[in-house]
C-alpha cells in the first residue's frame, strides 16, 4: 500500500507471517469530509515485541520489547500513556509507554492463570480488563484496584450426566451501557455474565454449531453478537432471547478476526482462508466485498472512519480528495456518465468504477 494512501484504509489486517496490510473498500459515491482516523496501530508480534504503526505516515515507527511469560500475545490495550499486555501463560503487564526502544520494567504485573485466550479492555472504563482462556474462567480485573479480580465467574452446573462442564473462553466482549460481558467458548457456547447481579454463573447461555467459536463481535444495535467458528460459519445470536438470528455464508476457513462497524450494518471478517470479507448484516444479509490477501489472516481492525463511501485518495489523482462538499454528487454523476460512454481502455480508476458497478449488478452475487 502506498504511504500516502495509508490513512484512507478502511481495514487493517495482520497476518500469520507478521505482515500488516491495509485494505480499502471502494465504492463510487460522493466524497465527504473524512472523520478522525486512529493515528496509531499497535501490533503485537510473536517475538514478544509490540510494534507501533503510524497510519499518517504509513510505516512502523518503533517497537517495544515486552519480555516475560511464555506464549504469544493474547491482548493489547492502551490507557493513560501506558501499555497493557497479556501473554498466553497468564502474565498481564502494564508498561510505561515511552515510545522508545528501551524496555523498562513493567509498572504492574498480574498473574491471571495459565492458558489465557483473550484479554479485552472495557471501552467505557479503560483501566478495567477481562481475561479468559482454556480452563481459565472469566475474570475481570481493575488495574487501579487490588490484585484480586473484581469479578470471577463461576462455572455452570454439572451437566445431565453429572460431569463437570469444561471451560474454554475464546473471546470476550464488554456490552455497552452496562457491566455485562459476553464470552464465546471453544465448546460452541455463547454466555452472558452480569457482575452487577449476585449470581456469578452466566445469566444467559446459547449454543451454536458443533465447532469451537473463535471470534466474536458486537453488532451496532447492542442486542446481538456475531460469532465465527473454526469451520468458517458466521452466526448472529440475539442476546435478549439467546436465539440464532441468522448466518452469513462465504468463509471457507477458520474465522480469526471479526469486527462490526460502529454505526453501519457492516461486518469485516478475516480467517485462515486468506480472504478479507465485508458482509452486510441486515437488509439484506449478504456479502459486500471480498479481498484476497495472500497470507493467512490473524486479526483485523477497522479504522475509525465513519464514512465508508469516500473515494479513496489515489496517489496519482490527489486533487479528488480536495472535493469535500455535496456538489461532488453532480461531479461523480457526470464522471460516471462519461465512463459509460468511453471505450473500454479507460483510466485505471474509472475502469475500476465500471467493473465494480458491473459486479454489483450481477444477480446472486450477494454472498460468496
Amino acid at each position: 500500500m502506498a504511504a500516502a494512501g495509508a490513512r484512507w484504509n478502511h481495514v487493517w489486517v495482520g497476518t500469520e507471517t507478521g505482515i500488516l496490510k491495509g485494505s480499502t473498500v471502494r465504492q463510487p459515491r460522493s466524497g465527504r469530509h473524512p472523520a478522525l482516523l486512529c493515528p496509531q496501530i499497535l501490533m503485537g508480534c510473536a517475538d514478544k515485541t509490540v510494534r507501533y504503526f503510524s497510519t499518517e505516515e504509513g510505516r512502523f515507527q518503533g517497537h517495544k520489547h515486552c519480555p516475560g511469560g511464555e506464549g504469544t500475545f493474547r491482548g493489547l490495550a492502551q490507557v493513560d500513556g501506558t501499555l497493557i499486555t497479556c501473554v498466553d501463560s497468564g502474565i498481564v503487564r502494564v508498561w510505561r509507554n515511552n515510545d522508545k526502544e528501551a524496555s523498562s520494567d513493567p509498572l504492574l504485573e498480574l498473574s491471571v492463570g495459565p492458558g489465557v485466550c483473550r484479554m479485552r479492555q472495557d471501552p467505557a472504563r479503560p483501566h478495567v480488563v477481562a481475561t479468559g482462556g482454556k480452563e481459565n474462567a472469566l475474570k475481570v480485573w481493575d488495574l487501579q484496584g487490588s490484585e484480586e479480580p473484581v469479578f470471577r465467574a463461576k462455572n455452570v452446573r454439572n451437566d445431565w450426566l453429572d460431569l463437570r462442564v469444561p471451560i474454554w473462553d475464546q473471546d470476550i466482549q464488554f456490552l455497552p451501557e452496562s457491566q455485562k460481558l459476553v464470552t464465546c467458548t471453544g465448546y460452541h457456547q455463547v454466555r452472558v455474565y452480569d457482575p452487577a447481579s449476585p449470581q456469578r454463573r452466566p445469566v444467559l447461555e446459547a449454543t451454536y454449531g458443533e465447532y469451537p467459536l473463535t471470534a466474536m463481535t458486537l453488532t451496532p444495535g447492542g442486542n446481538s453478537v456475531i460469532v465465527g467458528n473454526t469451520h468458517g460459519q458466521l452466526a448472529e445470536i440475539d442476546l435478549r432471547q439467546g436465539r440464532l438470528l441468522g448466518c452469513l455464508k462465504g468463509l471457507a476457513g477458520s474465522v480469526r478476526g471479526l469486527q462490526c462497524h460502529p454505526s453501519k450494518p457492516l461486518l469485516a471478517s478475516c480467517g485462515l482462508d486468506r480472504v478479507l470479507r465485508v458482509h452486510r448484516i441486515r437488509n439484506p444479509r449478504g456479502l459486500e466485498h471480498k479481498v484476497y490477501l495472500k497470507s493467512q489472516l490473524n486479526c483485523l481492525l477497522l479504522s475509525g472512519r465513519d464514512d465508508w463511501e469516500d473515494q479513496p485518495q489515489e496517489p496519482q489523482e490527489p486533487k479528488k480528495a480536495a472535493l469535500q462538499d455535496t456538489e461532488t454528487d453532480e461531479l461523480w454523476a457526470s464522471l460516471e456518465a462519461a465512463a459509460k460512454r468511453k471505450l473500454p481502455d479507460l483510466e485505471q480508476t474509472q475502469g475500476a468504477l465500471q467493473t465494480r458497478r458491473r459486479k454489483k449488478q450481477r444477480p446472486g452475487s450477494t454472498s460468496t
Binding site: 507471517t17 505482515i19 485462515l272 497470507s295 460468496t368
Partner: protein, 389 residues
Amino acid sequence: MAKAGDKSGTKGKKGLKRKATAEEPQEAAVAEDGATESGVQPPKTAAFPPGFSISEIKNKQRRHLMFTRWKQQQRKEKLAIKKKLKKEREALGDKAPPKPIPKTIDNQRVHDETIVDPNDEEVAYDEATDEFASYFNRQTSPKILITTSDRPHGRTVRLCEQLSTVIPNSHVYYRRGLALKKIIPQCISRDFTDLIVINEDRKTPNGLILSHLPSGPTAHFKMSSVRLRKEIKRRGKDPTEHVPEIILNNFTTRLGHSVGRMFASLFPHNPQFIGRQVATFHNQRDYIFFRFHRYIFKSEKKVGIQELGPRFTLKLRSLQKGTFDSKYGEYEWVHKVCALFFEEPFISFQKYRMRRKLCTLSFECLYLMFLTSTSLKEPISDKVFGSDD
C-alpha cells in the same frame, strides 16, 4: 383409436398440421352433426388452445407419438440450418469468418484471484516459513506411516501394501482400535514425518487422511475409483525399490500449492532416474488423479509407458491446520456444498483453450504427450513442482 383423439387440443405443430389437414375432413364429417358437405373445411390452424403442450396429453401412446413427431421436426430444422450455414461458408470460401469455438466449462472460467504468481514474494516468504520448509530445504527426509481405519478388509489392506511399495520409506501398520490422537504423539517420537490413514467403508477404501507430522496440516480427501494392481489392464511388472519421480499438475491456486507441497513432501527429494518410475498427481477441476507409471524413451520423441501400481482419485474435503483434530482443530479450508455454485474449483485453473482437447483424451495419451514434449536433455525432474532439485 389414436387418430380419433388427435383433435383433442394438440398444439398446431407443423408436423401435426400435415396429418391434421388430411384428417380434418374426416373428423369434421364425424364431429359436426349433419355436415355432409365435403366443401366445408374447418380452418387450417386447428383449434388448439394456446399454451398447450404435448405433456398435457393424457394418453401415453399418443403423447409419445406426438413427441417423436415433434422431435423429428426439430432435428430436421437443425439439419437444415446446418446445411444452410455450410453452404454459406462454402460460398464465401476464403472470406468466411473463422469457426466459432464451442464453450466448455474450462473456457468459460472466470479468472481466479488466488492463482499463485511464480514471482510472488509474499507467497515465497510464506512457503519458506511454513511446515514444509524443512523438507524443501533438505533438512528432513520423509518417513511415512500408512494405516487404515479400524479393522480393515482385504481391499484396503492390499491397497496399503501397494501404496507402501510406491512410496519409499513407508511402513504399514495394522490398525486395531487405537485413536489417531494417541497414534500421533507416538509417531512424532519415532521420527515419522507423515501419516496416511485410509478410511474404509463397506469393504472399500473411500477416504484418505494425510497428516504432516510434527505440527503440519492435515488434509482429508474423499477417495474413489480405486484400482488395485491386478485390476489394471496391460500393466507392467511390480515397481522396484527405486525412488520415483513426481509430477504435480495444475496445482495452481494458493490452496493447490499447499496441497501440492503436501504430496511432494511424501517422496524423498532425490529421484532415481535409473528406475524410470514416476508418480503423478494430476489435478483437474479439483479431482486429483494418482497414477504410477514406468516410462521408457524409445527415441527423442517417442515414449512408452506402462502403468504399475494402484490408481485412485482424490477430492479434497478439508485442510486443517495442525495435526489431526477434527473436532477442535482450525480449518484452513473446508469444502462447503452450499457454496459450490458460487465459486469455481479451488485448486486449479486452466485458461488455455487448447487444453480442452487434452481433457478428452485418455490419461495415458495425455501423459505421453506430456513426456514427449520435454527433450531428453533436460531431466524430467525439472517438471517437478517447484523445481526443487
